[in-house]
């Protein structure tokens, strides 16, 4: 940058010095600030200065770009559509509202092994989690374990605020529509035996969400007691205190729930479902080979199936994403 320091005034910010001293003059102070003569740097952008600057910045970013490109090439991803719109799909039967719960199995093959930690995401499309009414439909006080909010949820939760005169916990449309498919993954061994793959449920939510923002109602009683006086969201099969057997992943601090509650920005979105951790350096997390995916749709009653079917019309995917550039 071409720059020139412009210090026009020597009395830079100095104290005002009245000329007479004795008589009270109303002469304005002769300070650089008041006389608009602060020393100033006057950069002038010219082609001669901007081009080299851009060039240098560009140079710096080249290695960064290369690094990003290499890692992104190392990412492996597989996408499995289990919506079942296609009649040939094993999950086609689950489109029918009568089958409940409906279990279907999809098999797929990994051509290359997935080396690092593997992330399982579920993806929904055309699901407007960013709808204004939807986004608002929650009570953060309730989710933070506030006992009064637990029994008297915010009005924002309407029409999912009360059911049969009991407050819903967790209230609101977001919680009510929580993703509740159960996905299990099996590796097909050499002898066609099925080896279940451990899917880690914890560590998928933000640490702050899990530990600060979401809290169960206080108390030492069992969770069921603490949630006494509330009812489960209408669409749910189980109440909130039965989401998981693990005390640390149950109730409001269930991580599947927390992930769902972090509403997506776009109508087609993915959310982290499970982690498959790398066990040791010798074996790949998911070796190449055949796998089975077991899907359990839990459908509550016929009334709701209708709605589910409308979502099932669209994409239900399970993605696997391996290889991370951040290792």
């Amino acid at each position: 940058m071409a720059m020139n320091y412009n210090a026009k005034d020597e009395v830079d910010g100095g104290p005002p010095c009245p000329p007479g001293g004795t008589a009270k003059t109303r002469r304005p102070d002769n300070t650089a600030f008041k006389q608009q003569r602060l020393p100033a740097w006057q950069p002038i952008l010219t082609a001669g200065t901007v081009l080299p600057t851009f060039f240098i910045i560009g140079l710096i970013f080249i290695p960064i770009g290369i690094g990003i490109f290499v890692t992104s090439n190392n990412i492996r991803e597989i996408e499995i559509d289990y919506t079942g719109t296609d009649p040939s799909s094993p999950c086609y039967k689950c489109l029918s509202p009568n089958v409940t719960p409906c279990i279907c199995t999809i098999n797929f093959t990994l051509d290359q092994s997935f080396e690092g930690n593997v992330f399982m995401y579920y993806g929904l499309s055309n699901f407007y989690q960013n709808h204004r009414r939807y986004v608002k439909s929650r009570d953060d006080g309730q989710l933070n374990g506030d006992p009064s909010a637990l029994l008297n949820p915010s009005k924002e939760c309407e029409p999912y605020r009360r059911n049969e005169d009991k407050p819903i916990a967790p209230c609101g449309a977001i919680a009510n529509s929580m993703f509740n498919d159960t996905l299990e993954l099996f590796q097909v061994g050499n002898a066609s035996d099925l080896m279940p793959i451990t899917l880690k449920k914890k560590g998928i939510a933000w640490w702050t969400d899990k530990n600060v923002k979401f809290r169960n109602p206080p108390g030492t009683d069992p969770l069921e007691e603490r949630f006494k006086g509330t009812t489960k969201p209408v669409n749910w099969v189980k109440p909130v205190y039965m989401l998981d057997s693990d005390e640390d992943n149950n109730g409001f601090i269930n991580e599947d729930f927390i992930v769902w509650m972090r509403t997506a920005a776009l109508p087609t979105f993915r959310k982290l479902y499970r982690l498959i951790e790398r066990k040791n350096d010798l074996h790949p997390t998911l070796p190449a080979g055949r796998y089975y995916l077991n899907i359990t749709y839990i459908i509550l009653n016929t009334l709701h199936v209708l709605f589910i079917s409308s979502i099932v019309n669209h994409l239900h995917t399970v993605d696997k994403n391996t290889g991370t550039w951040s290792l």
Partner: protein, 1077 residues
């Protein structure tokens, strides 16, 4: 007491009749006649707008009349009533803030006005009541009260002079604060009341005055006084303007007078000439309003489109009410049209951020703080009055950079209002100062004139002529002990240049000592007193443009001395004498001096007899006295001998000429509006180089017009003639005018008040409109216009006329006296000079500076800078393009306001010194150049472009699965935060790009606000806020920053969105370099 109770009974009765009857001293004139008191307003002057009670509602009403405030109020109400995405606090708080700040400011200003009013209203006056002198407050004066006024006091209301301490019932008055004429005028009392010089006698006066209802013309008054003495038949005397003492004028050289109040308070002529202070709006504010309307339109369209899209999208039931997102019962039952309407409103509220509330706060702050720089400016400091500039309104800073027309007062503004004798010329020999002429400037205060060129006798004759040919009077109290040292003499005259001449003669040894018993006494160089019997004075008038005296010397010779303008004198003297002097006269006229030629003639005793008879006859004539006298004068003033010429300088203010030249160079048109005589004004215009030597003058004055019989025909003729001339000269439209000035013949127009009123108010048929337009066409083509003999209201009329021209140019008025107040108030920017003529002008002005020369820096430097600053500020605000309420509020107020505020206070894209020295730069920003459609579109599109970049950049980023190393996902709040972060950085960095003057404050504020943004985001997201229902932002920012890809995206997007601006800057500098080389 009686009157008061009576008043109550017939309040309102007879209120609006054609005339008003005033009973002097409020005494009923006779027993028989019923005493009917009329109700008049009291003598209170009210210039304040509010009272304690109506302040709140009135002020709020005024404020909500502004489009913006009203708009935000509506938005606020919508937010309160309708379910909207943003909370009402977001827009309510800033609105509340703006309103409060403005209200406080206006309240304070009004309080100051109240105080000023009180000062006037509570000043003490003396009223004669029941033969006693009673001390009262000025506001208690009632119509009919007899008021005593002492020397050097101003009249508290309009008075009819009853008697003064002088024998002849005259008093001297200076109306400098009313019409700018600083000379003393003589006012007369009616013959029958002259004798009433004591409190008792004046109280015994039984009289009634009938006069017209108040009207604003200062020089018109018609009335009649009926005096009832000792129950005899009433004596009626007519009253004219010479009997009326106006409020605001000052009594001079008269010890005290008694007068009866006829017009009081708001009905005085001064108050009627005073125009209420209306709120002035700057052109920038108008631009803002225009932008606002455009944006409002965009907003409405946007909201309409969005509502339509919403319902199109919702037409499929799945989208309208998916199973996961059901409506409440209430929502389902709401009537559809109402729903659409509320949806529309909520979209409007959602997008209302494109119209920034905080802009108004910032603009106000910028103006308020910015105006300090004017009052802080050391260059505006004047040693003499120990004061700097004063800023009364901060709303108009940027307007100073937009001025097209400058209207200036002459007396006290351009000139210092003191005449000075510069040189004289006797028989073609030039005498300059006190030293003898050489062509160079000899400025020594050398010994008495060393006169070797001209004949001694001629010299003395000339000097005697100077001493005798005038109407100067010596101030009485100085002549008590007869002839004393000449330096103690105080001269007074109706024309200041006469004083200058007499003083000039004194320098050469001839001192006018005074008039005694009809003898004029002159002390000559040998300290002898010469006495001349004053036989006749042939008074000055503007048609003859000369005056003469006829005196009889001690030796018995009768001499006529005549002095007058060259054009008036030359035809009346022998030709051979002219040539010698003409050169000097013309030279002096070019210099801007007032020149007067002196001639004399000896009158033989026989001739004198005849002349004397004629004069007396003419003076006695009852009909056509004026004409007859003129005829006689004409006959007498012939065949004279030219002795010499004088040059008097109406001393210009320091650097007045340079300032005018600079203003001219800056493309401003300077008009001089003065109440003064045309000759004086013209010479001043020459002196301050408003008229150049090659300027061709077009005169539209009584002189040129009255030559013919039918004034209007002549006027019409002249107008069309001038127009033809000018159109020939400037065939192209006015657009090329600025260039044309440098190449073509320059024209100056001179017009006087009576002609102007002829043009403006002439016969109400279609012709008058025509005149006006022709006149305006002429005016617009002239480089300089001089309007003389203007009444205060006429000045305002002119200003208003120009203001309403096509393209509504910005006008600036500058003046120092109360007579300029109306003009100052009328124009877009009013500037007061803190002069000697009181503080009225500076109180009513928007800015007050000590001297005229300060106008240059004020306009060229401050005006320019302020304009550029505010223009940038406004554009920037419209450029700044949603989601969390706190963020939104903070966005406009904190993150992005301070830097622009600092920028708008400190930016100097061009050095101040350069600005003052190169007035042409001013032209670049004239006509509101920076806030026109072009730049506006540029900024809007830039904003749209950046908005697109922000959104889709982040959108594509979110297409990928995971942004975090641990595979965790981000939600919609992160999405928003990313966009927002990019936005804040881009907007601030854009400003950094535009800043060309980086002081430490800029550094502090720009980097500081970015740092503050980061800090605030951490803070806002770092705590579970107990008072918030939704913890949306919790830890979003920190979580966001942990992702490398988001970092990279932010940097990338900032670069992309700034690149067009950088490209533009670089290209501009390349182009500039090209044009330089």
């Amino acid at each position: 007491m009686f009157r008061r109770s009576f008043n109550r009974f017939c309040a309102g009765e007879e209120k609006r009749v054609g005339t008003r009857t005033v009973f002097v001293g409020n005494h009923p004139v006779s027993e028989t006649e019923a005493y009917i008191a009329q109700k008049f307003c009291d003598n209170r002057i009210i210039s304040s707008k509010y009272t304690l009670w109506n302040f709140l509602p009135k002020n709020l009403f005024e404020q909500f009349r502004r489009i913006a405030n009203f708009y935000f109020l509506i938005i606020f109400l919508i937010q309160v009533t309708v379910d909207t995405p943003t909370s009402p606090i977001t827009s309510g708080l800033p609105l509340f803030f703006v309103i409060t700040v403005t209200a406080i400011k206006q309240g304070y200003e009004d309080w100051l006005r109240h105080r000023a009013d009180n000062e006037v209203n509570k000043s003490t006056v003396y009223i004669i009541e029941n033969a006693k002198r009673v001390k009262k407050e000025s506001e208690k004066i009632k119509v009919g009260d007899i008021v005593e006024v002492q020397a050097d006091e101003t009249f508290p209301c309009d008075l009819i002079l009853l008697s003064s301490c002088t024998v002849d019932g005259t008093c001297y008055v200076t109306t400098a604060s009313l019409d700018g004429e600083s000379n003393c005028k003589t006012h007369y009392a009616v013959r029958d009341t002259i004798e009433l010089r004591t409190v008792e006698s004046i109280d015994n006066l039984r009289a009634a005055i009938e006069c017209e209802q108040p009207q604003s013309d200062l020089y018109k008054f018609v009335g009649r006084i009926n005096i009832y003495s000792n129950s005899l038949e009433a004596v009626a005397r007519s009253l004219g303007p010479e009997n009326l003492l106006l409020k605001g004028a000052t009594l001079k050289n008269t010890k005290k007078i008694y007068g009866v109040a006829v017009y009081t308070g708001m009905e005085t002529k001064m108050a009627l000439n005073y125009q209420g202070k209306s709120q002035k709006r700057s052109a920038v504010e108008k631009s803002i309003n225009a932008f606002l309307i455009v944006y409002l339109f965009i907003l409405l369209t946007k909201a309409a489109i969005c509502t339509t899209l919403k319902y199109v999208w919702q037409s499929t039931p799945y989208n309208d009410e998916p199973w996961y997102n059901q409506k409440t019962q209430k929502e389902r039952e709401t009537w559809k049209v109402l729903k659409m309407f509320t949806d529309f409103l909520s979209f409007m509220v959602l997008f209302n951020f494109i119209i920034p509330v905080s802009m108004y706060v910032t603009v106000e702050m910028q103006k308020f703080l910015g105006s300090f720089f004017i009052s802080w400016d050391n260059d505006f400091y004047d040693e003499e009055i120990n004061e700097g500039a004063l800023v009364n309104t901060s709303d108009l800073n940027e307007e100073l950079g937009q001025v097209d027309y400058v209207f200036t007062d002459k007396t006290g503004t351009l000139t210092e209002n003191s005449m000075e004798f510069i040189e004289c010329c006797i028989d073609g020999h030039k005498y300059k100062g006190v030293a003898q002429e050489t062509d160079g400037l000899s400025q020594t205060d050398g010994p008495l004139p060393y006169l070797d060129r001209a004949d001694k006798n001629r010299e003395e004759l000339f000097l005697r002529a100077l001493c005798l040919c005038h109407t100067v009077e010596v101030k009485p109290n100085d002549t008590v002990d007869g002839v004393t040292e000449s330096s103690e003499l105080t001269y007074m005259s109706s024309s200041p240049d006469e004083i200058a001449l007499v003083k000039g003669a004194k320098k050469y040894g001839f001192t006018f000592v005074g008039v005694q018993n009809g003898y004029m006494r002159v002390e000559n160089q040998r300290k002898e007193i010469e006495e001349y019997e004053l036989l006749h004075t042939l008074n000055f008038d503007s048609v003859r443009r000369r005056m003469s005296v006829i005196v009889k010397t001690q030796s018995g010779d009768i001499l006529l001395f005549c002095k007058g303008a060259d054009s008036a004198v030359f035809p009346r003297v022998q030709n051979h004498e002219i040539d010698l002097i003409k050169v000097h006269v013309e030279h002096n006229a070019m210099e801007g001096y007032r020149t007067l030629c002196i001639a004399f003639k000896e009158i033989a005793p026989d001739d004198y007899e005849r002349v004397n008879r004629q004069l007396i006859e003419a003076k006695m004539a009852l009909q056509d006295r004026e004409e007859k006298m003129e005829k006689v004068f004409d006959e007498i003033e012939t065949d004279m001998h030219l002795i010499g010429a004088t040059a008097v300088e109406d001393k210009l203010q320091d650097q007045a000429a340079e300032t005018i030249e600079a203003l001219h160079a800056a493309g401003l048109k300077v008009w001089v509006l003065t109440g003064d005589k045309m000759e004086t004004a013209k010479s001043t215009c020459y002196a301050c180089r408003l008229f150049q030597t090659n300027t061709e003058l077009l005169e539209l004055t009584t002189k040129t017009i009255e030559e013919s019989e039918r004034k209007e025909d002549r006027l019409h003729e002249l107008l069309t003639e001038y127009r033809k001339k000018l159109l020939r000269e400037f065939p192209k439209s006015t657009r090329s005018l600025k260039k044309a000035w440098t190449e073509h013949q320059e024209y100056g127009l001179i017009i006087d008040g009576s002609t102007l009123s002829l043009i403006l108010n002439s016969s109400q048929d279609s012709g008058s409109n025509n005149y006006r337009s022709i006149f305006l066409q002429i005016c617009m083509k002239c480089t300089a216009v001089l309007c003389c003999r203007m009444a205060p209201l006429q000045k305002a009329q002119i200003v208003r006329m120009v203001k309403n021209l096509k393209g509504s140019p910005i006008t600036l008025s500058i003046g120092d006296g109360a007579n300029d107040v109306s003009m100052i108030l009328e124009s877009h920017v009013g500037i007061g000079i803190k002069g000697k003529e009181g503080r009225q002008a500076s109180r009513n002005s928007d800015y007050a500076v000590p001297k005229f020369k300060h106008l240059k820096k004020l306009l060229l430097a401050h005006g320019h800078l302020y304009y550029v600053r505010i223009a940038h500020l406004v554009q920037y605000f419209f450029y700044k393009p949603l989601y969390d309420a706190a963020y939104l509020t903070m966005y406009n107020i904190c993150f992005t306001s301070l830097p622009i505020l600092a920028y708008s206070l400190l930016e100097q894209h061009i050095n101040i010194d350069t600005l003052t020295s190169d007035p042409r730069l001013y032209m670049k920003i004239s006509g509101n150049a920076m806030l026109q459609l072009g730049p506006f579109l540029y900024w809007t599109f830039l904003a749209a472009f950046e908005g697109t970049v922000f959104f889709f950049g982040t959108y594509f980023l979110f297409q990928t699965t995971s942004l975090d190393e641990n595979g965790k996902v981000y939600g919609n709040w992160t999405f928003g935060t990313i966009i927002f972060t990019i936005l804040v950085f881009t907007v601030t960095l854009k400003l950094a790009l535009d800043t060309r003057f980086w002081t430490w404050i800029n550094h502090l504020v720009i980097w500081g606000s970015l740092a503050f943004y980061v800090f605030f985001s951490f803070f806002w997201g770092g705590i579970i806020w107990p008072f918030l229902k939704q913890q949306r932002m919790y830890f979003i920012f920190a979580q966001m920053l942990s992702s490398v890809s988001i970092w990279l995206t932010i940097i990338l997007l900032i670069f992309v969105s700034l690149s067009p601006e950088m490209l533009r800057i670089v290209l501009r500098s390349v182009r500039r370099r090209k044009s330089e080389s």
